[in-house]
């Protein structure tokens, strides 16, 4: 009987199974294939000379000493690039960026020249021998300086650019917000700076450009989270025919947004390979990675929340200054200049909000990429969650109660926010209640009272975030005009195994496992029998790549839909095999059976074989399909994080004693992988809250250019996490899933900071800007102690 046959089958390890990862087999044996592991015959090595100045006129470059070093093949300068019309390139946000400097340098670490040599050491040595004549110029290191009327104009090469202003952007309804504020009993405000941080994946960026002079074929191995978009940009930048460009993104040692943009090194290496006819490898060292590639945040935020005395939230106003660095290179959807910051009303039901943002050029590295954050949702979530926590204290309410009073209720979804998002689904009270229960909130508050009586500084911090991920619907979302839709192709082989080709690119998220599970769920072939191909533009469908938690919402959906397409055809073949009409075929994976006669059945494997050996007349052979998914909406994951900390009054050292994270990302495909993503995000969130920061001195020197100055959390200080989940499926996603990769980096910084502020509130401390180093916390305690 078919039902028996089904029971005989091993359980299909589809959605909801913690399938162990397929990708592990190579990584635990040291057999990963990262960019620097790739070696091509005849390969040359490139090293880049970078500017020591943050702002300086370039008078000239003398490369003769470098050129004379044995083993040096070429020195590439901006002048040479300009001869090929490649001295400048477009950025992901439609600005331009210097590939190699021709007129003046605009940030410390900017690419000035490159040496191509037979050996990587020789290339590095020769870089030191290039003589550059600079005239230092005045430097701008903050948007506040940038907007001063006498500030030097950083982008004076741009037509019509007479100051450092890049964009002004507004969202929401200013009048309605004014009216809400007029009705308020109380306005709580906060000025805070979300510092510049860096994704700092453990593997830096790099590429190997291999241009075949005879055929014009350019194969570029590149650390890229978005290989297809990069291919199109390369075609536009270099004027190469797109069919001759193949981007191969090999195993990536993490990305977190750092590997989304096009960097000058990629372009120079490609130009050099084109000119020299040999493959050229360029691998950043760590300090190059930290000083020149996509940073994140650097956002000065002012927020005001209007409330009634009973805690009812009426409206929110924010104004922002964005420090974009010397070139505006944010990878944001074109329509949204500060990304999705306007999700800033968060988890709360309020009638009005207004967001004003201005972006400025400064003499700092460009990038503005989202470090594990969907387009500035992180900054938004931080601002509202800090504001709400402070508002609770000012109203004399418990922060949990104030949140619960204002949460969008479950029955209000789909919910339209005052800035125009339509939240698809949520149960904010459910996630909050679970988090409070898991951490033992009521008991902790009692314990806090006792500890305070003993003179101890104890704090509990909450954050109830809502994210907007999975960009996105084609009418609103594009990058450089490219719609943010993604593809999947599924081909089932005669033996009943298959290959899924996807446009996303894993950087550790486990796509090779998770996406195979989606196929398994839909068609009943086990995940180990589905190979997942990604990262090679010649062999995968088009799509915009993996960042902003978009892979599951977009490519995951495409994978489910392409599987359904395959089943449509498989059903026809099954009908042929079972000799019945298609309408009489039922599919209960992995078996097709005859309606009313369940013992007449064939499996998907039987059908696959028949697709190549015994298909009906008039039907194309084979069993495969393609699907490009246009999401009807974003997905809106959410959760509540609860943190308990103890602060040492004498030293300012704070320690996380408990960290509970309840996430709701809809349906979890592989719970083990989801939890791993949350652990990683909670750790990066902790790093941002506690230690990670890139600063600049007044002359634009970058401080934070190595792992001694740019601190990352180690196993010792990283908290132990206690996770919880609620499941509110996305109503519009084919399998009900939402993105999750970044939830924890988005939600957790405010929870950690709120906990420290909760500890210090009785002393009168109202805010400390991240990172909350022990020195800053100690200073805040001392300042609070000092008589006013």
């Amino acid at each position: 009987m078919a039902t028996e046959a089904h029971e005989d089958q091993a359980e299909i390890r589809g959605i909801g199974h913690s399938v162990k990862r397929k990708e592990d087999a190579r990584f635990i044996r040291g057999k990963g294939n990262y960019i620097d592991d790739i070696h091509l015959p005849g390969m040359l090595y490139m090293a880049i000379l970078r500017s020591p100045f943050a702002h300086a006129k370039l008078n000239g470059i003398d490369a003769s000493r470098a050129q004379a070093v044995p083993g040096v093949v070429a020195v590439v300068t901006g002048e040479l690039m300009a001869q090929h019309n490649l001295a400048w390139m477009p950025t992901m946000s439609g600005d331009t960026q210097a590939v190699l400097v021709t007129d003046k340098v605009r940030f410390q670490g900017q690419e000035v020249a490159a040496v191509i040599a037979e050996d990587p050491y020789v290339a590095k040595d020769a870089v030191e021998l290039i003589d550059v004549d600079y005239d230092a110029l005045d430097v701008v290191v903050s948007p506040q300086q940038a907007l001063a009327s006498d500030a030097p104009v950083i982008r004076d090469e741009k037509d019509g650019q007479t100051d450092n202003h890049i964009y002004h952007w507004e969202s929401g309804d200013a009048d309605a917000t004014d009216r809400a504020f007029a009705d308020a009993d109380r306005v709580v405000s906060l000025d805070t700076f979300y510092p510049r941080s860096h994704p700092a994946p453990l593997e830096t960026c790099g590429c190997i450009a291999d241009v075949d002079g005879a055929t014009g074929q350019a194969t570029i191995y590149m650390t890229s989270q978005a290989p297809h978009a990069i291919r199109t940009v390369f075609a536009l930048v270099a004027g190469l025919p797109e069919e001759n460009i193949r981007i191969v993104s090999p195993d990536l040692g993490g990305g977190f947004g750092n590997k989304v943009p096009v960097y000058p090194g990629y372009v120079v290496a490609t130009a050099a390979s084109l000119l020299l006819g040999r493959p050229v490898k360029w691998i950043e060292d760590r300090s190059e990675n930290l000083i020149s590639t996509g940073f994140a945040r650097d956002f000065h935020m002012h927020g005001e929340l209007a409330l009634k005395n009973d805690g009812t939230m009426l409206g929110l106003r924010t104004s922002l200054l964005a420090d974009e660095g010397a070139f505006h290179a944010d990878a944001q959807p074109s329509k949204f200049k500060v990304g999705l910051f306007h999700v800033v009303t968060g988890s709360y039901d309020m009638s009005a909000a207004h967001v004003v943002a201005d972006g400025y050029y400064t003499n700092k590295a460009p990038g503005g990429v989202a470090y594990r954050c969907s387009f500035r949702v992180t900054e938004a979530s931080y601002l509202i969650e800090r504001l709400v926590q402070n508002a609770a204290y000012e109203l004399g309410m418990d922060p949990a109660d104030l949140r619960k009073k204002n949460f969008i209720r479950k029955d209000q979804f789909p919910y339209e926010t005052p800035t125009g998002f339509v939240y698809d689904s949520g149960d904010y009270h459910g996630a909050m209640d679970l988090a409070l229960e898991k951490i033992g909130y009521a008991e902790l508050r009692e314990e806090q009272e006792r500890k305070r009586a003993e003179g101890k500084l104890w704090g509990i911090g909450l954050a109830s975030f809502t994210e907007a991920v999975g960009a996105g619907p084609h009418k609103d979302y594009d990058i450089l005009g490219l719609k943010m839709n993604d593809g999947a192709e599924l081909r089932i082989h005669p033996t009943g195994k298959g290959i899924l080709k996807i446009s996303s690119k894993t950087q550790g998220q486990g796509h090779e496992t998770t996406f195979a599970q989606i196929v398994a769920e839909e068609i009943g072939i086990q995940p180990e029998d589905i190979k997942v191909q990604h990262g090679d533009t010649d062999n995968t469908p088009y799509g915009l790549g993996t960042y902003a938690s978009r892979s599951t919402p977009t490519v995951g959906a495409a994978t489910a839909m392409v599987s359904r397409r395959v089943i449509e055809k498989a059903r026809k073949i099954a009908a042929h095999l079972l000799e019945v009409a298609e309408e009489d075929v039922e599919f209960t994976r992995p078996t097709f059976s005859v309606r009313g006669a369940p013992d007449k059945a064939v499996t998907i494997q039987d059908v696959a074989f028949a697709a190549y050996t015994n298909f009906p007349d008039g039907m194309e052979s084979g069993l495969e399909a393609a699907y490009y998914y246009d999401p009807p909406n974003l997905t809106f994951p959410f959760g509540t994080y609860a943190v308990a900390v103890e602060v040492d009054r004498e030293t300012g050292v704070w320690q996380v004693t408990r960290m509970v994270a309840v996430d709701d990302c809809g349906v979890r495909i592989n719970p083990m992988i989801v939890e791993g993503q949350i652990h990683g995000g909670l750790t990066e969130g902790y790093g941002i809250a506690a230690m990670e920061q890139i600063t600049f001195d007044e002359t634009g020197n970058c401080i934070g250019s190595n792992f001694i100055d740019y601190l990352l959390p180690t196993a010792v200080e990283t908290p132990r996490f206690e996770l919880g989940e609620t499941v509110t499926p996305s109503p519009h996603h084919p399998i009900g899933a939402k993105g999750v990769g970044e939830s924890a980096t988005v939600g957790s910084p405010a929870a950690y900071v709120n906990a420290v502020i909760d500890a210090l509130w009785p002393l009168g401390v109202r805010n400390i800007d991240m990172p909350l180093t022990s020195a800053k916390v100690w200073e805040a305690i001392e300042a609070a102690k000092a008589p006013a």
């Binding site: 990963g32 453990l202 196993a715």
Partner: protein, 159 residues
Amino acid sequence: MTQIAVTVNGTRREADVEPRTLLVYFLREQLGLTGTNVGCDTSSCGACTVHLDGESVKSCTLLAVQADGREVMTIEALAEADGTLHPLQDAFHRHHGLQCGYCTPGMLMAAASYLKENPTPTEAEVRESLEGNLCRCTGYQNIVESILDAAGQMSGAKS
């Protein structure tokens, strides 16, 4: 150029190296053992951890010439010759102790030598032992669990 002879993963390898060549470059570039990774230039990350005469070292902090006459073991030799995984490799797989995999060879090598020193560590001790190994993906929790599990397996197997 200096001539060195190093026993790498059980095989004696003779080579001419520049005196300034770092051990990690010798392993990766000259011997093609690319399992050992490089994540920094300040001896901070531990991605390059290998064993030198049985003890874990950061191979970016040593010159190849310093390994002359000594024994080096890299991630490529952690599993047995027949392919059987080391208990740590197996535990990392079962506990999802890796994501991008870039820190993993260093983590495994550091943990393998640490467990020889301290076969039955506490969680806090494992965390301390990993202080020189950065992971950007996992948040360490599953790495720590993997190591504790492997420690249990290994000491259980011995007793």
